[in-house]
C-alpha cells in the first residue's frame, strides 16, 4: 500500500528532514509514526500525499509512483487518500454537515448522494447531535471528528493523520484513536503521526520511530520508549 525505498528529504539550505528511509506499510495496517517534534513525522506524511517531493529515493503509495508523480496527477492520488491535519482546517462559516458535504460536493457527487453519504459519515464519527453546529460551537475532539469524517468522504484506501490528537486531552485522544480503529477495522489503512506516548503504549500497534530524520525503530506492537 505504501512503500519507501532509500528516501531522503533535504530542504533548501541543507537541513536534512529525512534520511535514507526504507519501509513498507501493507493494506489494512494501523501504524503509529512516532518521534519528538522536529523528528520528521510531518515531512514523512507530506511526502506520501505529495505536498513535497523527496530529494532522492522512490515512494510508492496506492500503486502510484509518488516521487515522480506529475503535478496534474496529484489530485488523483489525494482522492485515494484521506488526510487529517493537526489543525482540523474546518470552514468556520459552515456547519458540521456542510463541512463534510463540501468534500462530497467538490468530489462531484450529486445532491442526493451528498445528503445520504454525509449522514452516514456523521453517524460513523458519532456527531449526530452536532450536525448543524458551527466549528466554534464544537469541542476540539468534535472538530477532529469532523475532519476525519471529511477525510473519509472519498472512501480513501489510506488515512494519513498528522497528530490528530495533538491538541486534545487524554480522554478525547483515546476516543479519536478508538474511532480510527473502527475505521481501520472496516479496511482502511491508517498511518497516524503522534508524539503522545500514552496512546501508543495503551493501544499497541506497529510503531515506526523517527529521530532526526532517520528511521530508528520499526516494531510490531511497539511502545513509545
Amino acid at each position: 500500500m505504501i512503500k519507501l525505498e532509500n528516501v531522503s528529504l533535504v530542504f533548501q539550505g541543507g537541513s536534512v528532514a529525512l534520511s535514507n528511509i526504507t519501509t513498507e506499510i501493507k493494506e489494512g495496517d494501523f501504524v503509529y509514526l512516532i518521534g519528538h517534534s522536529g523528528s520528521g513525522k510531518s515531512s514523512f506524511l507530506k511526502l506520501l500525499y505529495r505536498d513535497t517531493y523527496p530529494t532522492k529515493g522512490i515512494i510508492d503509495v496506492v500503486d502510484m509512483e509518488v516521487s515522480s508523480l506529475p503535478k496534474w496527477k496529484i489530485p488523483i492520488l489525494r482522492r485515494k487518500l484521506g488526510i487529517v491535519t493537526q489543525e482540523p482546517q474546518l470552514l468556520e462559516d459552515r456547519t458540521t454537515f456542510e463541512n463534510i458535504s463540501f468534500s462530497l460536493e467538490v468530489l462531484g457527487y450529486d445532491a442526493k448522494e451528498i445528503d445520504a453519504k454525509t449522514s452516514t459519515l456523521i453517524d460513523l464519527v458519532e456527531l449526530q447531535d452536532n450536525a448543524y453546529k458551527f466549528p466554534y460551537q464544537l469541542s476540539g475532539g468534535e472538530q477532529t471528528r469532523v475532519a476525519i469524517a471529511r477525510a473519509l468522504a472519498s472512501n480513501p484506501l489510506v488515512l494519513l493523520c498528522d497528530e490528530p490528537t495533538g491538541n486534545l486531552d487524554p480522554d478525547l485522544s483515546i476516543q479519536i484513536v478508538s474511532l480510527l480503529e473502527k475505521i481501520n477495522r472496516a479496511g482502511t489503512t491508517i498511518l497516524m503521526a503522534t508524539h503522545d506516548s500514552s496512546i501508543v503504549n495503551r493501544r499497541k500497534k506497529r510503531v515506526l520511530e523517527l529521530s532526526d530524520g532517520k528511521l530508528i525503530r520499526d516494531e510490531t506492537e511497539g511502545t513509545y520508549v
Binding site: L77, R78, L91, D110, R150
Partner: protein, 291 residues
C-alpha cells in the same frame, strides 16, 4: 452537472465578497472597451468619408475670367493627357451659380446678397491616385489661365493626420485603462483567494484539481470583463445611433457605418474580453494555488 453548479454558485459567492472591487473592475473594463469601440468606429467613419471624398473631385482649378473658351479647352485637353488624371470636367460660371444656390438654399439672405459674377468657372479634376494632387498643382502653377488651385487632398490629409493622432491618443488611453482593469481583476481575485485560502487548502487536500479550484475565479473574471464590455458595446451602438440622428449627420460628415463592421467589432471585443478575463484570472490566482 453538480460540479458546474458548484462553480457557478461559488463564482457569485466570490463576487458578493468584494462588491466595490467588482464594480470598479466592471467600470474600468467598461471605459476601456467603450474607448476601443468608439475609437475604432470613429476611425471607420473617417475612413469611409475620406474614401468617399477621395473618389470625388481631387483638384479644382479656378479659371481666370478673361480666359477664352479655346484657352480653357486647351488647358482641359492638356490635363486629360496626364497619366495621373482620370477625368476632367468643365464647370461654367452658370453651373457654379446653380451649385452655390443649392449649397446655400437654407440661407436665402446670403444667396440674395452674393454677386454671382465673382464665381469663377473651373476645371474639376479627378485623379487615379488622390495623393498625386501635388503633381497637378506643380504643373498648373504659373499658367496665366489659372486663377487659383484648390486640392481636397490637403484637407483630407490634414483630417487623416488629425484622426490618426486622435486614434493613437485614444488607443494609448484605452490601453492604460485596460491595464488598470487588468490590475483590478487580479487584485479582486487575490483578495477573494486570500479570504478563501482555507477552503482552497481543504480542496487541495481532498483532491480537487487545480482547474476545478480555478474555475470560479476564471468565471468571475470573465463575467466581470464580459459585463463591462457588453455595457460598453451597448453604449457604443447607442452613441452611433444618436450621432446618426443628431446634427452631426446633417453636416458634411456621413455617420454611415456598416452593420457588418459593427457586428465584427462587437464580436471581436466580446471575444477579447473573454480572453482578457481568462488571462487576468490565470495571473491572479496562480500564486494562491501554488502556496
Amino acid at each position: 452537472m453538480n460540479k458546474l453548479s458548484y462553480v457557478i454558485k461559488n463564482t457569485f459567492i466570490n463576487m458578493r465578497r468584494n462588491p466595490l472591487l467588482v464594480i470598479a473592475t466592471v467600470l474600468a473594463v467598461l471605459v476601456s472597451s467603450f474607448l476601443v469601440f468608439t475609437t475604432l468606429s470613429g476611425r471607420a467613419v473617417v475612413q469611409n468619408n475620406t474614401s468617399r471624398w477621395q473618389n470625388g473631385v481631387h483638384v479644382v482649378i479656378f479659371l481666370d475670367d478673361r480666359v477664352t473658351t479655346t484657352a480653357h479647352k486647351q488647358l482641359q485637353e492638356s490635363l486629360e493627357s496626364y497619366p495621373e488624371v482620370r477625368m476632367v470636367d468643365y464647370f461654367s460660371k452658370d453651373e457654379a451659380t446653380e451649385e452655390f444656390k443649392i449649397l446655400f438654399k437654407d440661407q436665402p439672405e446670403l444667396v440674395q446678397e452674393v454677386d454671382f459674377e465673382i464665381l469663377p468657372s473651373s476645371l474639376r479634376v479627378n485623379l487615379n491616385n488622390p495623393s498625386d494632387y501635388t503633381l497637378i498643382i506643380e504643373r498648373m502653377e504659373g499658367n496665366p489661365a489659372v486663377k487659383e488651385i484648390r486640392a481636397s487632398g490637403e484637407a483630407i490629409e490634414r483630417l487623416l493626420s488629425l484622426t490618426n493622432t486622435l486614434v493613437l491618443a485614444a488607443t494609448v488611453f484605452a490601453i492604460l485603462i485596460a491595464f488598470a482593469a487588468f490590475i483590478l481583476i487580479i487584485n479582486t481575485l487575490r483578495l477573494t483567494a486570500f479570504a478563501k485560502r482555507k477552503e482552497i487548502k481543504v480542496m487541495k487536500l481532498i483532491g480537487a484539481s487545480s482547474t476545478y479550484i480555478r474555475l470560479p475565479f476564471i468565471f468571475e473574471a470573465i463575467f466581470e470583463s464580459l459585463l463591462g464590455t457588453s455595457i460598453a458595446v451597448g453604449l457604443g451602438w447607442g452613441v452611433i445611433q444618436y450621432s446618426k440622428d443628431s446634427l452631426v449627420a446633417e453636416s458634411i460628415f456621413d455617420i454611415t457605418i456598416s452593420d457588418g463592421y459593427l457586428i465584427n467589432l462587437t464580436l471581436g471585443l466580446i471575444l477579447s474580453s473573454v480572453l482578457f478575463g481568462f488571462f487576468a484570472s490565470y495571473v491572479g490566482i496562480r500564486k494562491a494555488l501554488n502556496e
